[in-house]
């Protein structure tokens, strides 16, 4: 018989250790039950009125979008080429908001929040659109104030052109259903930016030039918590060298969701305007064109129970390490396997696989159980398309959340190896996961984001199926899921490394 030490044997021995303590097996089962149970129980604690009180219109793909701007246009039939020079675009007049880092006294105290979205900010551009209804299909070439030249269509496609600002020539060419965008510095040498096929472009479409200026987001602090808001902005642009085959009379229209404004009692759309000046036009516009997905996230909302399941996994992880030090079992372990690094690796692998299986089963079941309830509570299309397990972002959220739970359990194990006391290991881990969330909710501005990048709490970002957003007060919505899992991985690797060093250097 071959009694040589082998790693698979070591794994088997650690697995035997793990499964032979009934309390741990029960805790594992409890972790899964808590994840599923709390999620299902609190699914009805989620409610949204995003579909009843819409602040969006429905785009061509049935997604919620924002479509508000000032459009100077005329109908055109069939293939065409439209060229314009944007002579100037003045930056948006910001309504009394403090720039980040501006410490000047007095004035308004709200701090501007940078929105990195390519659909944010101000833009002057040309567009071909399916009529003037808000939310209809379109393709556009645009010069932005600080995001360069871009080509966008149907609120979802965004292509980057040159990074220039100031004066720029823009051109749209229609050939059948395909729209191609070009840009030029001098009107002679043209660079293609991209081609796109808008979903519903009729033979006779509206073509013209426009100005948009997305609302400015700001944070303000009061009452021990920070709040977020938005204020409308407007921008001016001068267009000249307008060249359109078979041009007729230009007409200016404010594109806006009439219904929304009537519901909100604003009495009509906010005003943009245009004036002809010599060979050109000066246009003032306000509003944003782009996706307007509600920030609330179904997947995240359905996974409330993860917090509870995580607690159970943390205690198993810590105990799997610290129980070795009670009653001196670690000596037996090291006499059986003198290569301590391998013992640590085997422990980590066995705990990791077990925790991952339990977590993944827990989050998948939690999502499936919570979804029908959430749908009843307003999380329904069009504001909230029904998620499916095979959607990329949903699958990512589930897999990464299970990975987050697993890594935190491993972190607890590593801290257990270092501290050798379960109370210390469990407390350290729980405090690092939960306290930043609680503190983060009362901190203003970007401080919570910074906390998410530096503590295990960042791992909560894995639960979101939607991109990070600056408009939610929840700290974990401020960083991306991959950043979140990276933070947790770094913590766990560092803790395991330290545990390995300590095992090698100190007596058992």
């Amino acid at each position: 018989m071959n009694a040589r030490e082998s790693f698979p044997r070591l794994l088997l021995s650690e697995w035997t250790k793990l499964r032979s303590v009934p309390r741990w097996v029960i805790t594992f089962a409890g972790a899964m039950a808590l994840t599923i149970g709390l999620s299902a129980l609190l699914a009805s604690a989620n409610r949204t009125d995003a579909n009843e009180h819409r602040n969006f219109v429905v785009g061509p793909a049935n997604d919620p979008v924002s479509d508000t701007f000032y459009f100077v246009h005329q109908p055109i039939t069939g293939d065409t080429t439209f060229t314009v020079r944007v002579a100037s675009l003045t930056p948006p007049r910001e309504p009394n908001l403090r720039r980040p880092g501006d410490d000047s006294p007095g004035g308004d105290s709200m701090t501007l929040l940078e929105d990195p979205s390519p659909y944010a900010g101000s833009a002057a551009g040309i567009m071909i659109k399916d009529g003037t209804r808000s939310g209809s299909s379109y393709a556009s070439m645009l010069l932005t104030a600080d995001r360069g030249v871009r080509m966008q269509s149907d609120y979802a496609t965004d292509r980057e052109g040159s990074a220039s600002s100031g004066t720029r020539w823009l051109r749209l060419v229609r050939s059948g259903d395909t729209i191609t965008g070009y840009e030029s510095a001098d009107g002679t040498n043209w660079t293609p930016v991209g081609s796109t096929t808008p979903k519903n472009l009729p033979a006779t479409a509206e073509i013209g030039f426009y100005v948009s200026s997305a609302p400015a987001l700001y944070t303000s602090r009061g009452g021990g918590s920070s709040s977020l808001g938005e204020r409308p902005t407007s921008a001016d642009a001068t267009f000249d060298n307008v060249a359109l085959d078979g041009a007729a009379q230009w007409r200016g229209d404010q594109i806006a969701d009439q219904n929304a404004d009537e519901r909100e009692g604003k009495g009509g759309p906010p005003g943009g305007r245009y004036t002809a000046s010599g060979s050109g036009f000066v246009v003032t516009g306000t509003g944003a064109i782009g996706p307007k997905v509600p920030d609330d996230d179904i997947v995240e909302g359905a996974l409330i129970g993860v917090i509870a399941g995580l607690m159970a996994l943390i205690s198993v992880g810590a105990l799997f390490a610290t129980s070795e030090y009670r009653r001196g079992m670690i000596r037996t372990t090291f006499v059986a396997t003198p290569r301590r690094g391998r013992v640590l690796a085997a422990k980590a692998i066995v705990l990791g696989i077990s925790a991952y299986v339990v977590s993944l089963a827990g989050v998948v079941a939690a999502l499936l159980l919570a979804l029908p309830t959430m749908k009843k509570h307003g999380f329904a299309p069009p504001a909230f398309p029904t998620p499916s397990l095979s959607d990329g972002p949903v699958a990512r959220a589930l897999l990464l959340t299970a990975a987050f739970m697993t890594l935190v359990a491993l972190f607890a194990m590593a801290v257990g190896m270092l501290a050798r006391r379960s109370a210390a290991a469990i407390t350290t881990t729980i405090v690092l996961v939960l306290l930043p969330l609680i503190i983060g909710m009362v901190l203003p501005g970007t401080a919570p984001r910074w906390l998410m990048y530096t503590t295990l709490a960042g791992g909560m970002a894995t639960q979101r199926a939607k991109p990070p957003t600056v408009t939610l007060a929840e700290p974990w919505a401020m960083i991306g899921p991959w950043a979140g899992i990276a933070v947790v991985t770094a913590y766990t690797c560092a803790a395991l490394g330290l545990a390995w060093l300590r095992l090698r250097r100190t007596d058992a």
């Binding site: 409610r47 009452g223 409330i304 607690m311 729980i430 609680i438």
Partner: protein
């Protein structure tokens, strides 16, 4: 007389293990340090008019961190007896279970309240430095509401100790009790921030032991609190009392292994 002896024995037990002193010291330092860090980051000019920010409440935010030490101390006072099996000599020396629990409770809550008072007072002193130049007024001992916030935070810590000790009696295992106590205290506000229905958020925060208990720290903008100050202390007391009663019952009925 026998009750006094039980208290004295528990006091001797607690003061003769080094972890007690370190935990209390760590709890005080953590409380003061976090309060100082948060008050130091405030700026009157960043606060909208009407500015509802409560600098007193924020200067006591360290209690949320410092309570961790209290939880560990109180849990260990019970569960270490099972881990080290000193529960045998303990019960051989004091066979009446209720006296053992009484002794532990008096000592643990007493120590916590003493250390908590130091931490709270330290937080106010630190806030005096932290708030200097921020445009906010530092907490004042002469102000009734500030005094209530300080006394309430101290009472809160004492009740957290009682709750943790009760959980220790119920669960008897250090890891399990610490996890349960921290999950109960920290889990509720995080879950509340996850749910998107404000009525549920209100419900959860109203009956979560930490948020209800700490609503007594508010000195202004009371509309933002989910429960009244003394009602909040009542909610936490109900948790602590429930855990203790159930713990005592099981302690008296179960065999001591």
């Amino acid at each position: 007389m026998t009750a006094l002896r039980a208290v004295r024995a528990e006091w001797t037990k607690l003061r003769t293990v080094s972890s007690t002193g370190w935990l209390l010291l760590g709890g005080i330092v953590a409380t003061v340090a976090l309060g100082w860090a948060i008050t130091g980051s405030l700026d009157r000019r960043e606060c909208d008019a009407p500015c509802l920010l409560d600098p007193v409440k924020l200067s006591l935010a360290g209690v949320r961190l410092g309570q961790v030490a209290v939880v560990i101390l109180a849990v260990l006072a019970v569960t270490a007896e099972y881990a080290t099996r000193t529960i045998q000599p303990t019960l051989a020396a004091v066979p009446r279970r209720s006296l053992v629990v009484l002794g532990k409770l008096v000592v643990v809550v007493g120590l916590t309240v003493a250390a908590g008072a130091l931490g709270v007072a330290g937080s106010y002193v630190a806030a005096g430095f932290g708030l200097r130049g921020t445009g906010f007024a530092a907490p004042a001992w002469s102000n009734d509401l500030d005094l209530r916030a300080a006394a309430g935070s101290t009472i809160y810590l004492g009740l957290v100790a009682a709750l943790a000790a009760g959980l220790g009696l119920l669960i008897r295992d250090t890891a399990g009790s610490v996890t349960a106590a921290l999950a109960l205290l920290y889990g509720a506000p995080v879950v509340a921030s996850f749910v998107s229905d404000p009525r549920w958020e209100h419900r959860i925060l109203r009956f979560s032991p930490m948020d209800a208990g700490l609503s007594i720290q508010a000195t202004r903008n009371f509309a933002a609190e989910h429960i009244g100050p003394w009602a909040g202390i009542g909610v936490l007391s109900a948790y602590a009392g429930g855990a203790l009663l159930l713990g005592l019952l099981l302690f008296a009925l179960r065999d001591s292994r």
